[in-house]
Symmetry: D3
Subunit: 223 residues, 6 copies
Amino acid sequence: MSQPICVINPNSLQNVTASIARAIEPLAPENAGSLQCVTLDVAPPGIVSQRDADRAAPLVAAFIEEHEARFSAFVLACYSDPGLFAAREITRKPVIGIGQAGIAAASLLGERIGVIAISAAGIARHWRYYRALGLERRIAGERSIDLSVAESGDETLALERMSEIARMLRDADGADVIVFGCAGMAALRAKIEAASGLPVIDPCTAAVSFAIARVRDAAGAGS
Amino acid sequence: MSQPICVINPNSLQNVTASIARAIEPLAPENAGSLQCVTLDVAPPGIVSQRDADRAAPLVAAFIEEHEARFSAFVLACYSDPGLFAAREITRKPVIGIGQAGIAAASLLGERIGVIAISAAGIARHWRYYRALGLERRIAGERSIDLSVAESGDETLALERMSEIARMLRDADGADVIVFGCAGMAALRAKIEAASGLPVIDPCTAAVSFAIARVRDAAGAGS
Amino acid sequence: MSQPICVINPNSLQNVTASIARAIEPLAPENAGSLQCVTLDVAPPGIVSQRDADRAAPLVAAFIEEHEARFSAFVLACYSDPGLFAAREITRKPVIGIGQAGIAAASLLGERIGVIAISAAGIARHWRYYRALGLERRIAGERSIDLSVAESGDETLALERMSEIARMLRDADGADVIVFGCAGMAALRAKIEAASGLPVIDPCTAAVSFAIARVRDAAGAGS
Amino acid sequence: MSQPICVINPNSLQNVTASIARAIEPLAPENAGSLQCVTLDVAPPGIVSQRDADRAAPLVAAFIEEHEARFSAFVLACYSDPGLFAAREITRKPVIGIGQAGIAAASLLGERIGVIAISAAGIARHWRYYRALGLERRIAGERSIDLSVAESGDETLALERMSEIARMLRDADGADVIVFGCAGMAALRAKIEAASGLPVIDPCTAAVSFAIARVRDAAGAGS
Amino acid sequence: MSQPICVINPNSLQNVTASIARAIEPLAPENAGSLQCVTLDVAPPGIVSQRDADRAAPLVAAFIEEHEARFSAFVLACYSDPGLFAAREITRKPVIGIGQAGIAAASLLGERIGVIAISAAGIARHWRYYRALGLERRIAGERSIDLSVAESGDETLALERMSEIARMLRDADGADVIVFGCAGMAALRAKIEAASGLPVIDPCTAAVSFAIARVRDAAGAGS
Amino acid sequence: MSQPICVINPNSLQNVTASIARAIEPLAPENAGSLQCVTLDVAPPGIVSQRDADRAAPLVAAFIEEHEARFSAFVLACYSDPGLFAAREITRKPVIGIGQAGIAAASLLGERIGVIAISAAGIARHWRYYRALGLERRIAGERSIDLSVAESGDETLALERMSEIARMLRDADGADVIVFGCAGMAALRAKIEAASGLPVIDPCTAAVSFAIARVRDAAGAGS
């Protein structure tokens, strides 16, 4: 595989991109090319509202259109998967949204998926998406920690609140697996797993792992 | 009612805006203010693809943010309702999407709704929307005439093809009511009704009628 | 439009008919004919039970059969829409049920609909209807004020209880729009909107607005 | 069991009642009382339309109210179960609808239920009912023989057409079990089973068998 | 009917088989052959876990294969219906699962079914089954008494706990009919009915009643 | 990662195990331990019927119970995922079924999943599983090539038939992504992709890729 996989952070926060890059670095295959993370500098600083997601979507599509030839696959590193369906109109290369990938991975480890959202503002939007995907019956519940995207980068602050939310998803909603409803939380994955006793999925690593596997498949196809 | 209702054509085709304006002119209430149609000049020339819809969405939101104080309500005159949920984050005034309004109106005249789409490219996107709204079980089928948005302004060309599609929705899909899956077709409504023998809903007039009723209700509330 | 629209109160309470008539009076279009409210004198005094609804249904059908030629459209002013589907076997003119119209209108202003019912006895019946219509996923919850239909005409008594129920629908069930689950509550609409901070739909005015729009469309068709 | 079970034919056709009586006669338990079939003389001559069903419903309720004390249970011998939910407001004794009972019995013999309807006019009404019951996903399809209720009593005429419909349900719709969508077809059950190779349920005998079992349970409860 | 119906207890607890036999003894028809209960001696002592159900399934199939010619029908007397679909690959004779039959019977007496499970360990498995059957929307809730299968044979111990659970299903989950989520509870049926005020279904007697009716139908077919 | 991942072929065909081993060999991570494929020698020679799947399930559970300590994760290499839920009662280590994993991976590349089954006998069983998982709405269709499991190992024979089925799923059912409904087809993946123009998922490689990613995550958790 000669071309890298492009992981697009569709918000303009460099520290989110950096935390994504750290999380997926161990996944980078030697024989499968490299991973490249990009920040969409003109995008909103965090995808909190529907309007943020709507703003990001055409930027994602424009980026993919411009750089389509350079990459083997694209990962959209925002749980709302902004621009995903438009991107698939632009390229036949794999475009993987972490929202879909997080749900898909969680569905392999449990039956009732609990989602930890950053902000209450996103929950109705996420449910619209679950319904659009026909997956809403797999979601046991979604609850938010109500920290800003920037604050959520503060692991100490986030850890306590996320642990509490994970246990509520488990005990009140009956979740048997947890997925993070945003990018940039990967560093807390093992700790939330310990705090809740449930398997926890970081959607970014799930999406990147899948993209790598898919690109390797495609590469093997030509051999 | 002192403030007008703003009908936003979220594409840049002036002739579509003009046809919308003609269609809704008879609805303009004397005692309920006036209707004002606007074209988003920088928007795509027609919302055909998901990418078109994604491009239009932030433009709709920006327009509403800028002009929010001047209008009593907003109607999004595109069947994909681009930017609808973001708009509701910006204003508490009514924001009515013609996609939702067309389905709602059709649901009052029949049980199985057939949708005539302009382009096959939009059908999967529409189904995602029906599912997101929890309404997919009301849709008997959606079929496209596969004319460009511009061509679809040619009534002679459109009439024959739309009549044929309406009859297919009736006979093959079991529809008992038809809705146009786009703005700008209102002039053909009665003719398609005659051709199919089914009630036919123009989503623009449905949305504008509802917006007028809602604004009147709100005006009455203060009296 | 030369023929009036007939608004049928399918119970025998004259004061309910009167309150409906007051509520819809502002809607009466000068250029679209007049609205005429009728009371079905032999019907039950209020549609509380399933049996009441079952008794009203054939009376509605018989009335429409007898008077079909005189009216341009019919509105069934009971949230259970008794006789709606039979009426459509009798006439091809529009027959609009306020239950369907209330839900349709509410669906244009929010995503999760809360219903205020008069009586707990009707809730299971309403859910059967929501399911029959394929709309149950849009209903966030339905709660009753448990006042008789007659008492519910007492606005002072009803206002406090309805405000409380509206807030429960908002806070416990997550409703973002409210619809009255009966006719005859229109006078309280604005007050419940103020008490809950949510848009509130009176189903009678929603249905009559829609019927007027539909009749105007049909009239325009012949021009 | 000292009280008989009342099987109500909610139409006024005596020959339908007679055919029901013949069908259920072998079920009459010696130690469980007797079965009594009644015809609602003022009911429509066959339940074909929604209006017919609406007319029958209050008659069923009135009959049950008048005779409630004399019977241990009631069976509504019309596939549309007219008046069922109102009847349950009147009595706590079992009221079994053959529509529900036919579907329930079929669901124990197969996974995809095919329904043979007498008339195309009833199919949309039946689907509303399946949805109201939350059972629509079990119905593989419903097809009508399009004979009048009276004609359908002519076994020779009905047999050929029903066999054909049963095979269409099996081959085109994937049904693996068949239920008759009306009362009065029991005499053809074995023949349609032979013609289609699928198990076939007569809803009347299913409902009566269940009612007998339920009454016996209740009788045993007091011992 | 010359051949008996075989009621298979797919666990190895003889006392469960004995309690089933006592429960169904009153159903044995004089003119419809006899009922024979068998215990699968090598099966697990109670079907509590998914693994228990998985172990029982091939034993059920093997038993039916070996004894298929001797019986007119088979009843699987475990609420999880282990081996049901495999059994239908082996024989065309009726194979009735008490899980399906209990739900079917309950659905004829109410709209919202509450299930009393023996053990919390089975609830997720049961929900998988309800979904597989397309019936999950009929289930108001399932709650467990958390007694072992053996303990649950102690009626005194079970009665108090089951009554409490039945009332929780009624009051917290809105159930209007109850079904026992296991075999061997029939002796408590009337008492739980008295304790809850709701109709209560024993799934074994429901299944056996249906099997008898089905076999009688088939016998009548040849006459 | 010191412990290997165990890929269990729950049928007794050594050539199927060998083809699985060849397919997943390129996935074996140097730094993430090795993959070990096992054949369940006493299992049926191919999982065609429900009875085959029922037979395999307890064998899978027994194998995992015996060898649980030796492996980091288990992959069930049969599309019916026999024994999956029981396995999760036995171990908290990841147990990944290729049925679930194939669907999950396909859901990341398209919206409407077409499934190529080996045998028509499995399709109803698969649909039960899709419903049990709440995923049935994602399945556009499933069609079988109707070759025996053994024959399906003959690539020449299988290729032509699978290509035809893939095109039918695309054209008649509207699938936009394909998944193989069995293990052992991986060698044909690229060819079917070429023949259909749709992305094609081999469920074994999807499951193994996910298991590797999950084990790596868990290993990283302790660092």
